[in-house]
């Protein structure tokens, strides 16, 4: 190992983490991925890594890197690598939060209609296609311009861009580095929510921990209504990642890069494969931002129709938009010296401290808002970045709940009608494309998001600001 590996847990999460390890070490176990603990260690052994290989509290095993792993590589070290496994297949999967000036009492009487209206506007689930007309040329432009494309075409507001990581556009995106196959897969899916753990939720503010920070985000009091969108780059990002893995296996042989696990395919940052991946990854990131922007547009339409008011009058501003599967070049202080790092965040959210130049002017005093999406029927959180996080985790924190049960186990142990009934009893309207699979996404299948968030808060790597509770869920 080149650096230390570490992970943040509380007692409950520690047990889950060690159970995963114990299970994987049982004799005769031929499993898919290595357990998270081992994966964190393998990442710590990659060439050029600096600081620590950090597991966030929601960590669980994934392809190569664990999901919930942050690792940073020194850009000026010629041996340093970039790894698609450290970004994840769903490039720039992320969460966006919109606020409204509505209160729970305004929404409750028409909750069902509103949920249906959202469901009628946003294409969800396997095989759904986007309803914003686009041709191949539009796609090329969108890949290059990111949210600037959505702005130019008028799907979003100027202020949306302001409140988005990277201002919704990675400038190094190069659509020419993306395969035809990825573009073909991407075109019909742009503007669709997807399936799995992706969702759009109507939420209400349940608790405010930091009044001033909340007020900077336009959140005044408990009961205020928000909309959360959790989605990514769909098939496009997956194809980009798949294509890169093939290229990198070749590059690894050529450059004699040795890793502890074959799934940790990587290439030197400054090699052709490394640069090509970063350029196509940036294009996929732009795809994801346009995707979330299109759904922002559709959500505003849905609300506007139900309330017979313009989205402006409903004050439907984007509070923030975070990516939790991405690699970015950032400046950080390592051992007292400034360094340029390529920070991989897989299932990990950027959480920059107050006064950081890369966060929007509105959040200069509070720190960057960090959006933590819960799972179907559980709470979501807004955190803010801290100085301690900058030092310990290069400004990174958790991303969500993280799976605890396998999908098959969820299907065996839970009954979908029971899951739906339970949501109904909790007062949550649900519209789902594949109800029979709803138990795979039931809260019981995931780690407790409150445990995860509290651990980050206690460790000081981010600070609790707002708690949100869902009242309607739209998903694939």
């Amino acid at each position: 190992m080149n650096v230390e590996g570490c992970f943040y847990v509380n007692a409950t999460l520690e047990k889950l983490m060690l159970d995963e390890l114990r299970n994987a070490c049982r004799p005769g176990m031929v499993g898919g991925f290595l357990p998270g603990v081992k994966q964190i260690a393998n990442v710590a052994a990659l060439p050029g890594i600096v600081g620590r290989s950090v597991g966030l509290p929601d960590v669980h095993s994934g392809y190569g890197f664990a999901i919930g792993n942050m690792a940073a590589f020194d850009v000026n070290d010629p041996l340093s690598v970039v790894s698609p496994g450290g970004v994840g297949f769903d490039i720039n999967c992320g969460v966006r939060l919109l606020r409204t000036n509505l209160w729970e009492k305004d929404v409750l009487p028409i909750k069902e209609q509103l949920a249906q209206s959202l469901f009628d506007h946003i294409p969800v689930g396997v095989g759904s296609k986007g309803i914003i007309p686009m041709n191949a040329r539009d796609l090329e432009e969108a890949l290059e311009m990111g949210m600037d494309w959505s702005l130019r075409e008028g799907y979003i507001w100027a202020e949306d861009k302001e409140h988005c990581e990277e201002y919704g556009r990675m400038l190094n995106a190069d659509p020419a580095k993306v395969s035809m196959r990825a573009k073909k897969r991407g075109l019909p899916q742009l503007g669709t929510l997807g399936a799995g753990n992706h969702y759009a939720e109507i939420q209400v503010v349940d608790e405010i921990y930091d009044k001033w920070a909340a007020c900077k985000m336009g959140i005044e009091d408990k009961g205020q209504v928000c909309v959360m969108i959790h989605s990514g780059s769909r098939g496009f990002g997956h194809q980009v990642a798949t294509d890169a893995l093939v290229q990198m296996e070749k590059a690894m042989k050529r450059d004699n890069i040795e890793t502890n696990d074959r799934q940790l395919a990587c290439a030197r940052i400054h090699s052709e494969e490394g640069q090509d991946y970063l350029k196509s990854m940036a294009a996929a990131a732009n795809f994801a931002w346009v995707n979330r922007s299109s759904m922002t547009f559709l959500s505003r339409q849905a609300f506007a129709k139900q309330f017979h008011m313009a989205p402006d009058d409903l004050d439907m501003h984007v509070i923030y938009d975070v990516s939790h599967n991405i690699a970015k070049v950032e400046e950080h202080v390592v051992d007292g010296k400034p360094k340029t790092l390529l920070v991989h965040r897989k299932g990990s959210t950027r959480a920059f401290a107050p006064h950081h130049p890369l966060i929007p002017v509105d959040y200069q005093l509070t720190g960057q808002p960090v959006l933590i999406g819960g799972t179907m029927g559980t709470c979501s959180y807004v955190l803010t970045g801290t100085d301690q996080g900058m030092l310990e985790t290069f400004g990174s924190t958790c991303h969500g709940a993280g799976r605890a049960l396998s999908r098959a186990k969820s299907r065996r142990n839970l009954d979908y009608t029971e899951v739906l009934d339970k949501l109904d009893q909790m007062g949550i309207s649900i519209r789902v494309a594949s109800p029979k699979l709803v138990m795979e996404e039931a809260p019981e299948s995931y780690k407790n998001v409150t445990d995860v968030v509290n651990t980050c808060h206690a460790a000081g790597i981010s600070k609790k600001c707002i708690k949100l509770r869902p009242i309607a869920v739209i998903k694939g």
Binding site: Q116, F119, D120, H121, I122, P123, V124, S128, K129, G130, I131, I132, P133, L151, R152, E153, G154, Y155, A158, E159, K161, E162, P188, T192, W212, C215, K216, F297, L298, Q301, A353, P354, H355, P360, V361, D362, Q364, L365, D387, R431
Partner: protein, 246 residues
């Protein structure tokens, strides 16, 4: 090509000069040395005076070296050009004061008619006691804390008058008064510590002013985007492309 420069130096045979004749060029160089450049004392100029001597070339090379002439050309007129420029430079420097009277700036100011300002403010004595106390009174009326420099106080007054006391602002004050929730300035995290309460306070104020500046800039950028959108934007959806809802 050397006519203007040589006549400026008052060379006597300007009109009849034939630069393709090497002997004539040599004569010009000699004249320049004897009348303008004066590198050598008159008694040591003998060697370059012998224009027709076979040794002349040698003396000339020595002369060039002594003058640190950078030109290394086979064409003697190139060198002539340099000698003339060198002579002109010496001439100019010796009578700098005389020549500078004739520069464009000086000529212009002399010929512009002197306009008498109609604006009474131009006659104000900004350093005078009257001005200082006037500004102070005005500041008191507008409830602005005065700065030791009355000009800075005046600037602040002008800002308040333009932003809040314009006709529009008086008619619709709500459009002009910035609304916002006060932020607990004392609790705000500065991000660094200067080790001195007063310095920290000052740094905090500077930070907040900087943030406000940045906010103005961002608002202007947003306005620009919106203006561009009015030309480019045409959002549409087509539900025939994909099926939504059930």
């Amino acid at each position: 090509m050397f006519k203007r420069k040589l006549s400026a130096l008052n060379y006597p045979q300007v009109d009849s000069l034939n630069t393709s004749d090497e002997n004539e060029v040599k004569k010009v160089i000699l004249w320049l040395e004897e009348n303008k450049i004066k590198k050598y004392k008159p008694e040591s100029r003998q060697n370059i005076r012998n224009i027709n001597s076979s040794e002349w070339k040698k003396s000339y090379d020595k002369y060039k070296q002594d003058l640190a002439c950078p030109i290394k050309s086979d064409v003697i007129t190139d060198e002539l050009d340099w000698f003339i420029k060198y002579a002109l430079e010496l001439e100019y420097n010796s009578k700098k004061a005389t020549y500078e009277k004739h520069t464009v700036e000086n000529l212009k100011s002399a010929s512009t008619p002197n306009v008498i300002a109609a604006n009474p403010l131009d006659h104000l004595d900004f350093g005078g006691k009257d001005f200082e106390s006037g500004v102070k009174n005005l500041a008191q009326i507008l409830k602005i804390s005065p700065h030791p420099n009355p000009l800075i106080t005046l600037k602040a007054i002008s800002k308040v008058v333009c932003n809040r006391l314009s006709r529009n602002a008086i008619e619709k004050p709500n459009d002009f008064i910035i609304k916002g929730t006060p932020f607990p300035f004392e609790d705000a995290n500065l991000g660094f510590d200067l080790g001195d309460v007063l310095l920290n306070r000052a740094a905090k104020i500077l930070t907040l002013l900087y943030i406000q500046n940045l906010r103005d800039l961002q608002t202007k950028s947003n306005e620009l985007i919106v203006a561009a959108q009015s030309i480019t934007a045409n959002p549409k959806t087509d539900t025939k492309l994909g099926k939504v809802g059930k």
